[in-house]
């Protein structure tokens, strides 16, 4: 490796990491939090068999899972202006990522809810609790523990998926790297560099996941 390349890599490192911290991470955190809210509501609606809402939930999951994330980004950012709806890049990305991830997480949470022994619902009724009280205090906490490893997986995927936001001009890590790469014509080195930064982020998350799983090991099984 020649000196020029090393200098480019060293100089570009903070320039790439910075948007990682100020864009990639906030985009992930905000989108994933919203996705979880969407997912919990969508999962409960299905689990509880709420009539019309359940159909809507199934339709939403069907559409979102059946279309590419990149296309969804284009529809919202480049498509909606045709209807006079203009969204800035960052809100567009948050909207698409949370709706997209929400559909996947909803299925994870629904499956986890199904796995909680049903008898606890009846036991809750028998001591006078309402469906929503039982859901919030008994079923959902257990389901979220079951779902935790899968949801962590989804989160890790999302960190990497945020690179797609470069396509709708969000100045996140990959977008910045593309610019630097085309300036210096060092595509291989710089794309490997940004890949390593994504790897670093995901490694941290993987560690957090195993720490969390230990913390959340099933109730009473210490």
């Amino acid at each position: 490796m020649n000196e020029r390349l090393i200098r480019i890599l060293l100089e570009s490192f903070p320039k790439i990491l910075l948007p990682g911290l100020t864009m990639t991470i906030p985009l992930t955190v905000i989108s994933f939090s919203l996705a979880l809210v969407i997912a919990v509501v969508t999962a409960i609606v299905q689990f509880a068999n709420v009539k019309v809402l359940k159909q809507i939930a199934r339709f939403y999951i069907w559409v979102v899972r059946g279309t590419p994330l990149l296309v969804q980004l284009y529809v919202i950012f480049y498509g909606l202006p045709n209807l006079g709806i203009m969204l800035a890049p960052f809100p567009s990305a948050v909207l698409v990522f949370s709706i997209n991830e929400g559909a996947y997480c909803a299925e994870t949470i629904r499956a986890a809810l199904e796995s909680v022994p049903r008898g606890q619902l009846e036991a809750g009724y028998c001591v006078g609790m309402s469906y929503m009280q039982i859901m919030r205090r008994i079923l959902l906490p257990q389901a979220m523990r079951t779902a935790f490893p899968s949801l962590s997986n989804n989160l890790i995927s999302m960190v990497k998926d945020t690179s797609l936001a470069a396509n709708i001009t969000v100045m996140e890590m990959f977008m910045v790297t593309q610019r630097i790469a085309s300036r210096y014509y060092e595509h291989l080195a710089l794309y490997i560099e940004v890949a390593l930064i994504y790897l670093l982020f995901c490694t941290v998350l993987t560690r957090l996941q195993s720490w969390g799983e230990k913390k959340l090991s099933s109730y009473g099984a210490v």
Partner: protein, 257 residues
């Protein structure tokens, strides 16, 4: 007047008739043992009383108040459930709550009892079933018999007028049934009204005040336990007793009750 009267309950699952007009009256302080082969409708009867299943027809008269089982309002259901407690075959403890929290959860969340008061009451109930020292344990850390005792404490804490037991010892290893049965015996002595679906013949014989024998969705015989076990009126009851008692003659079963 009877405390609880069940009138003409009908229930079918997917066209299969499980209860075909069951009527039963329970006096305060009664311990009614409901016997019968599996599939005879015992458990469904119990579940219909507590609205865990919606009966197709029939009514309850509870403390003189008439409630139609098929189209009861939410208010009626809540009122009946408040007067009853239900003990499940599989305990159905809340798995994310400790033993004490299992007992206090309904008090705090549904009855809006202050936490301190609920915990004091919860500990009292756990003491009653001999589980006070396990108050901080999660269900996964307890044996089946211990879990069932916590479940009984959870039911008792809501101050029910009647406790419905659905085969409370059927899921337990034989050596664990004794601790649960002795708690139930103690409740019976204290005058608690109980409706017990069970396969424990010794419990039915020695603790119950009335035996109800069900088959094919109807009550075939209703007798005092001494009469039922000595001279059952129906040929079907006799056949049932022959099968069950034949199996129960082993000394292990005897010592647990």
């Amino acid at each position: 007047m009877a405390m609880l009267e069940i009138k003409n309950i009908h229930k079918a699952f997917d066209g299969l008739s499980v209860l075909k007009g069951v009527s039963l009256s329970v006096e305060k302080g009664d311990v009614v043992a409901i016997l019968g082969k599996s599939g005879s409708g015992k458990t469904t009867l119990l579940r219909c009383i507590n609205f865990l299943e919606t009966a197709d027809d029939g009514e309850l008269v509870f403390d003189g108040e008439i409630v139609h089982l098929h189209n009861a309002s939410k208010k009626d259901i809540a009122r009946i459930r408040k007067k009853t407690a239900f003990v499940f075959q599989n305990y159905n403890l809340f798995r994310n709550k400790t033993a004490l929290q299992n007992v206090t959860e309904g008090l705090i969340v549904a009855r809006k009892m202050p936490r301190a008061e609920a915990e004091a009451l919860g500990m009292k109930m756990l003491e009653k079933v001999g589980m006070a020292d396990k108050a901080a344990s999660y269900p996964s850390q307890l044996s089946g018999g211990q879990q069932q005792r916590v479940a009984i404490a959870r039911g008792l804490a809501t101050d029910p007028e009647i406790i419905l037991f659905d085969e409370p010892t059927s899921a337990l290893d034989p050596e664990l049934t004794g601790e649960v049965l002795s708690v139930m015996r103690q409740l019976a002595r204290e005058g608690m009204t109980m409706l017990v679906v069970t396969h424990e013949m010794n419990f039915a014989k020695n603790v119950s005040s009335k035996v109800v024998f069900m088959e094919d969705g109807v009550i075939l015989e209703e007798s005092k336990p001494e009469d039922f076990f000595r001279q059952p009126k129906q040929e079907r009851s006799r056949a049932f007793l022959r099968t069950i008692l034949g199996e129960e003659a082993s000394p292990k079963q005897e010592e647990t009750v």
